[in-house]
Amino acid sequence: MSNLVSGATGDWEVVIGLEVHAQVTSKAKLFSGASATFGADPNQNVALVDAALPGMLPVINQECVRQAVRTGLGLKAKINLQSVFDRKNYFYADLPQGYQISQFKHPIVGEGVLRIDLADGSSRDIGIERLHLEQDAGKSMHDQHPSKSYIDLNRTGVALMEIVSRPDMRSSAEAAAYVRKLRSILRYLGTCDGNMEEGSLRADVNVSVRRPGEDFGTRTETKNLNSLRFIQQAIDYEVARQIEILEDGGEIDQETRLFDTSTGTTRTMRSKEDAHDYRYFPDPDLLPLVIAQDEVDALAAALPELPDDIKDRLTGEYGLSPYDAAVITEERETALYYEQASKGRDRKLVANWMTVELFGALNKSGQTLADCKVTPERLGGLVDLISDGTISGRIAKDVFADMFDSGKDAAAVVEEKGLKQVSDSGAIEAMIDGVIAANEDKVAEYRGGKDKLFGFFVGQVMKQSGGQANPGMVNEILRRKLDG
């Protein structure tokens, strides 16, 4: 599939890199003991360290370090046993210290890789450049007052992992797939809840275009995109904008832009006369972060199985389609459900029932998998009844619908409603004889060449049996009797 964009003067290749900021799941903040949870009243989750009062000092939270290492391991990345915290100096009202504690030259995690799953079922590897820990900033509100801004420091100092990709993506769809997979991995690991609406996961996109085969073009950065849709929209807009400028003979300004969610466009951040000079230097209040190899090994040993590995097993061993495997492994809860429901059963059949009937019902009702009354065991029980011929696939759909509402086992529903499939050849023959006898004219038409009428006879038999005749047997016996 070509990702090239055709412009007025020829084709263009799109080059995309992403910097994703993921809030670390932890109870307390990165360098202070205040709570890192979302939703408190303004300035309640603020320690004096977060408010940068005179003489306050940072002390690092060990769980945040572990979460960063786990994430690095999940990205198959190099864990740097020694890393350094640097100060990134700039002034802003939501940055009380006048600097952000981040990692510049020596991040905690180095190069890694992320496999993205595309719509056509293929997969591609995207390089990870690095991951580092840094403090989140507070929140400023500019719309509460005509001439004043209001500042809330609750978010100040919450731990962030900044995950930087290599500029390996070539379309907005790939970028969205990247964030989708990254989010999935973070949720599997439990290192970030990936809640984009609440701001736990946000992306800055770096976009440039070039003629195929040439060097990278000048890129722009669009910041703080908090949904997959916005990421794609922003990229698509930037690509079109840049191509238009270049085709007109203009140049792209290297700049930071903001995305306007209401218009779907990007605009320049009104930049000051001089670009930021962050004057990074190692934070003298903090010493180098040193992690022991055996600590890393222990964290690695305790990692849950990750989506790509589960997916490989589902497509390789169980023969699921890449699409089904991707859907099932997107969330860890779904993968665990599938594992349980399909154990010792027809793996493909269970997958099919999950992705079509179960997810369909969940979407329609707005329930989550966790709320659902159809437990993995119950779904498995339903599939067993199909596999051993007790009910047909068609009947099973009705049984499922009942199970979904009532929470009953499949066997109980079948029993109560008398839905057992009829597989007694004698009974079926009798029904078929009855249908043939009642429809002699149609039989003559069929035997005369109207093949389509076969379906009519099947329908009649099924109707007579209340849908419970074994469809396979009906087909076979009907053929025999009609074709003679």
């Binding site: 009062l53 005179p54 000092l57 002390v59 100060r87 100096n89 002034f91 000079d277 004057r279 003298p284």
Partner: protein
């Protein structure tokens, strides 16, 4: 009252325990002394009511035969330390009236050990300076008078602390030392000052100047008093990531240890142009004293000594430029109103910071800025390693190093200088120890031709304050320095 002021800290503690004297009496004597010497501007704020309250509580404990290390002893606190409920300004207009709701760890330790807070002591603004002339609250006048009665500087940045101890308006005082800010004023005022090993005393709650160099330490009249105060101040603090979890040695035992068999290094590079010849003489005398007491003197070389000052004047301002970014008018301190946030920042900081502070922030910002970081900041950090390596090498053969504390005695207030660098040279002997993180003690050892105090400096291995106390006690015993300044409380004015 004057007799009470004569008691040193160790003596006073014993007298309090024996109930020969009460803490309230002692505190009252020091409060009166502070009033008497007010023209020297040691204190920027007195906390007399609080002192008497604390003293009364000390008396209750002492009556029961209880009490901490410094129970009932009057302490002055450099205004760089945050003291809960009392203004803590770093002697800057930008923190005018700032009243912290929290206590620094060092002062919390002092109050837990029974210290009585007399007041907040004057200092150079944000600890930047070596003459206590940059304070928003005006200069401190050294209780020692110059020739022809000229006003002298007490040294800096802990000028108020040193002057108060010398003038007897405080029995003990806290200071901080980033480039010599305890040791140099100790020398200028004829008192004992210790800069502990970096990490010995917690930096939590102390207004940060240069984080990798700052260290809190005690001022006292004599070495034994200093050991007592140090024991009360020091200790591991998990709220400070740079705090060292290394237990303090038995300093009381160290005081009586003597220097027999101790190897004392004499660095050839510590002879500088423009040094007062009396300083050279005193240094030699110090060597003789130690030798007579059984130490062995060893000539050593610290080849990168002369580069310590320029390295310091890159590193310290760089860290300061970042540490002082929080003083922006948003959450505390001075705010100059403006139409936009950036204007508010710029106007507030211009109005709130004095000239010296602004100059150092500018230099610090410059040496960290794009294109200059490698040439300046990184270069200075590399030289810092070489300086530290020099010390590591010599400490393989010697146990302590003896040097002069300052190139001259205290100079006149308002001395005109053509360029800022002249003032920087005050710190030439003290700065290396900050860069290397080593402990350093200054002990008053003699008077110069003008009758002004001169001090000797001892430098030691990391976490080996005991050796400094042992050698410092020997210097003190040998020097027999009993002179007191004309400007002292109860003295002739």
């Amino acid at each position: 009252m004057t007799d009470l002021l004569e008691l040193g800290a160790v003596e006073a503690r014993a007298a309090l325990a024996a109930r020969d004297v009460s803490a309230v009496e002692l505190a009252s004597a020091y409060i009166a002394a502070a009033e008497e010497t007010a023209s020297q501007n040691h204190y920027v704020a007195m906390t007399a009511d609080r002192a008497l309250e604390m003293a009364a509580q000390s008396d209750e404990r002492l009556a029961k035969g209880e009490g901490g290390l410094i129970e009932g002893l009057p302490v002055g606190v450099k205004d760089l330390f945050c003291t809960a409920g009392y203004a803590s300004t770093a002697c800057s207009h930008i923190l005018d009236g700032f009243t912290p709701t929290y206590e620094s760890t060092v002062t919390a330790n002092l109050w837990r050990e029974g210290g009585v807070m007399i007041g907040k002591l004057n200092c150079d603004e944000f600890a930047m300076g070596s003459a206590n002339e940059t304070s928003h609250f005006g200069p401190v006048i050294n209780p020692w008078r110059g020739k022809d009665g000229v006003d002298l500087v007490p040294g800096g940045s802990s000028g108020g602390s040193a002057a108060a101890v010398a003038a007897r308006s405080a029995l003990l005082a806290t200071g901080t030392d980033t480039g010599g800010s305890i040791r140099q004023p100790a020398a200028f005022c004829g008192v004992v000052g210790l800069k502990p090993t970096y990490g010995r005393c917690s930096r939590y709650g102390i207004v940060a100047f240069a984080s990798s160099l700052d260290q809190a330490g005690p001022f006292s009249r004599n070495v034994a008093d200093n050991a007592l105060m140090m024991q009360a101040m020091a200790g591991y603090d998990e709220k400070d990531s740079t705090s060292a979890n290394v237990p303090l040695q038995d300093l009381t035992k160290a005081l009586g240890q003597g220097v027999k068999g101790m190897k004392i290094g004499i660095p050839s590079e510590y002879v500088m142009d423009g040094m007062d010849p009396d300083v050279v003489t005193l240094w030699q005398q110090g060597q003789d004293w130690l030798k007579a007491a059984g130490a062995e003197l060893v000539e050593i070389s610290l080849p990168h000594t002369k580069y310590a000052l320029p390295a310091y004047y890159i590193i310290a301002p760089a860290e300061a430029s970042s540490n002082l970014a929080r003083y922006d008018g948003v959450r505390y301190g001075l705010r100059v109103e403006a139409d936009s946030l950036d204007e508010m920042y710029a106007k507030t900081r211009a109005a709130g910071f004095g000239e010296e502070v602004q100059r150092r922030i500018m230099i610090g910002t410059y040496v960290l800025s794009a294109g200059y970081y490698d040439a300046y900041y990184l270069k200075a950090q590399r030289v810092r390693r070489l300086i530290r390596d020099d010390f590591d090498t010599v400490f393989q053969t010697v146990d302590a190093i003896l040097t002069p504390a300052t190139p001259t005695a205290a100079f006149a207030v308002g001395r005109k200088v053509d360029d800022p660098v002249t003032n920087f040279l005050n710190d030439v002997f003290t700065v290396p120890a900050n860069l290397a993180g080593l402990p350093g003690m200054v002990v008053p050892a003699g008077l110069n031709g003008d009758g002004l105090p001169l001090g000797l400096q001892l430098l030691g291995r990391p976490f080996d304050e005991a050796t400094l106390y042992a050698a410092g006690q020997v210097i003190e015993d040998s020097a027999g320095f009993t002179a007191t300044p004309a400007g002292r409380a109860g003295g002739q004015s």
